[in-house]
């Protein structure tokens, strides 16, 4: 496929790896924020190709993984309400909340449907005018504009049985929370490519200017990631900290203004609960008052019950890059993709699921 195959050329990859190996003399602990990058790095064996100076750490950029149990419980309680149809992306179904998962309540008779797009969720609402249809909105700045578009579409068409349960989150405040915690020693940030396709590269400037950490926006093919690592290493060697883009075909510095306008027409910024990070100010999106009729939290009366967390699960520490999946005593024994305990083992882009499938790239593998 065009714009994919060219960025997998092994001759070019070898050239970039050679450059990284020759150029890297200083410690370079680099965090890839995005779970999509974690999967690509592990799948293509990129960790094993890097010199000992360069270490890749997986960040919190998996929307499914960072959704807190308290929020999952709300979705599960909503799905249990009579007549409600709950629609969501497939990854959310198996994630365990405090006492159950959407998959389990579906098995008990709840009407939970997997959709590929909010366009499909809207269609479910059109097809079932007598029943409330809730879209469980999970995702970062890449996804939130598509959910905003569905709310605007519903508003225009007068589809009044469509509701959104918004657990959308914003990425830059999460990075600030991680940097402020001082728990992780970082020399560079691999910025998420498709989040940045929407927000641009400008929102990462504070990481470079306030924290002195180089930032490079990366695409998801192996050459994109290697080029990004090379650019980060080059900044680190020169003692610089700037924001650069290694994914220029998909990301402009100013982002997609129309997508941002739609997102902020429908949503406003609020605090959000992140698994592993706790409450992060200014990191969530809730529906604006003008769209209150579409807000599932306001439209329904439901009791999610008290929040519980599974014993022994260290997904929170893994999402902060304080621990690795192999540090977890449940990993691969009690917790597997077939029977996950924590969300990082459920999501296709969770660190634990990726390490389970591809290995963690540690020496000896």
């Amino acid at each position: 496929m065009r714009f994919v195959d060219e960025y997998r050329r092994s001759d070019l990859a070898q050239a970039v790896i050679g450059r990284i190996r020759r150029g890297s003399t200083r410690k370079a602990r680099l965090m890839e924020f995005c779970g999509g990058h974690t999967v690509a790095i592990l799948r293509h064996g990129i960790r094993q190709l890097l010199p000992p100076t360069v270490e890749m750490l997986s960040g919190p950029g998996c929307p499914v993984c960072v959704t807190d149990n308290s929020d999952l419980d709300k979705a599960i309680a909503l799905a249990r309400l009579p007549r409600v149809i709950l629609t969501t992306f497939g990854d959310m179904l198996k994630v365990p909340g405090s006492r159950s998962s959407l998959q389990e309540v579906r098995a008990e008779g709840a009407d939970v449907r997997t959709v590929y797009s909010t366009l499909d969720a809207l269609q479910v609402a059109r097809d079932n005018p007598g029943r409330p249809v809730v879209f469980l909105g999970v995702g970062f700045e890449t996804t939130a504009p598509t959910v905003a578009a569905s709310v605007l579409q519903a508003s225009r068409e007068g589809i009044n049985n469509y509701h959104v349960l918004s657990f959308h989150k914003l990425c830059p405040p999460a990075i600030r929370a991680i940097l402020d915690s001082g728990e992780v020693d970082l020399q560079g940030l691999v910025c998420p490519g498709h989040v940045s396709a929407v927000i641009g590269s400008q929102p990462w400037e504070f990481v470079a200017s306030e924290y002195g950490i180089p930032c490079v926006v990366s695409g998801f093919e192996p050459l994109d990631i290697l080029q990004c690592i090379d650019m980060l290493v080059s900044q680190i060697e020169k003692g610089e900290s700037r924001v650069e883009i290694a994914y220029r075909r998909g990301v402009h510095a100013e982002g997609n203004q129309r997508a941002l306008e739609l997102m902020y027409e429908v949503f406003e910024v609020c605090p959000a609960q992140w698994r592993g990070l706790g409450t992060v100010p200014g990191s969530g999106l809730r529906l604006r008052k003008e769209f209150a009729a579409f807000d599932a939290e306001l439209a329904f009366d439901f009791d999610p019950g008290p929040t519980l967390h599974p014993k022994g699960c260290i997904c929170g520490d893994i999402l902060r890059a304080v621990k690795r999946p192999s540090d977890c005593q449940l990993f691969g024994r009690v917790c597997t993709p077939a029977s996950p305990v924590g969300p990082c083992m459920v999501s296709s882009e969770g660190s634990c699921a990726a390490c389970y499938q591809y290995g963690d790239g540690a020496a000896g593998e």
Binding site: E6, L12, G18, V64, T143, G250, L262
Partner: protein
């Protein structure tokens, strides 16, 4: 979750388009990229085109990498 894949726009009708993704045809929304036109490649995320791929920049990136490779080869020969 933030997965987005390149897709080629075959036809446009208002804010909807028919795209080709490696042989698969899909109807997608152009709400977020109303400027997209037939022949453009877009980044497709959950049924929405979130950006038009900049073909010039795509070629430029590959050209840079090829230069890098040529420079490394030349250094080795010296």
């Amino acid at each position: 979750m933030c997965l987005a894949v390149p897709a080629l726009i075959k036809s446009v009708e208002g804010l909807e388009a028919e795209v080709d993704m490696g042989g698969i045809t899909r109807r997608v929304s152009l709400w977020l990229t109303p400027e997209a036109k037939v022949g453009d490649y877009v980044l497709l995320h959950t049924g929405y085109a979130i950006n038009v791929i900049d073909q010039h920049e795509a070629e430029e990136t590959l050209r840079l990498l090829e230069e890098m490779m040529a420079a490394a080869d030349a250094e080795e020969e010296e």
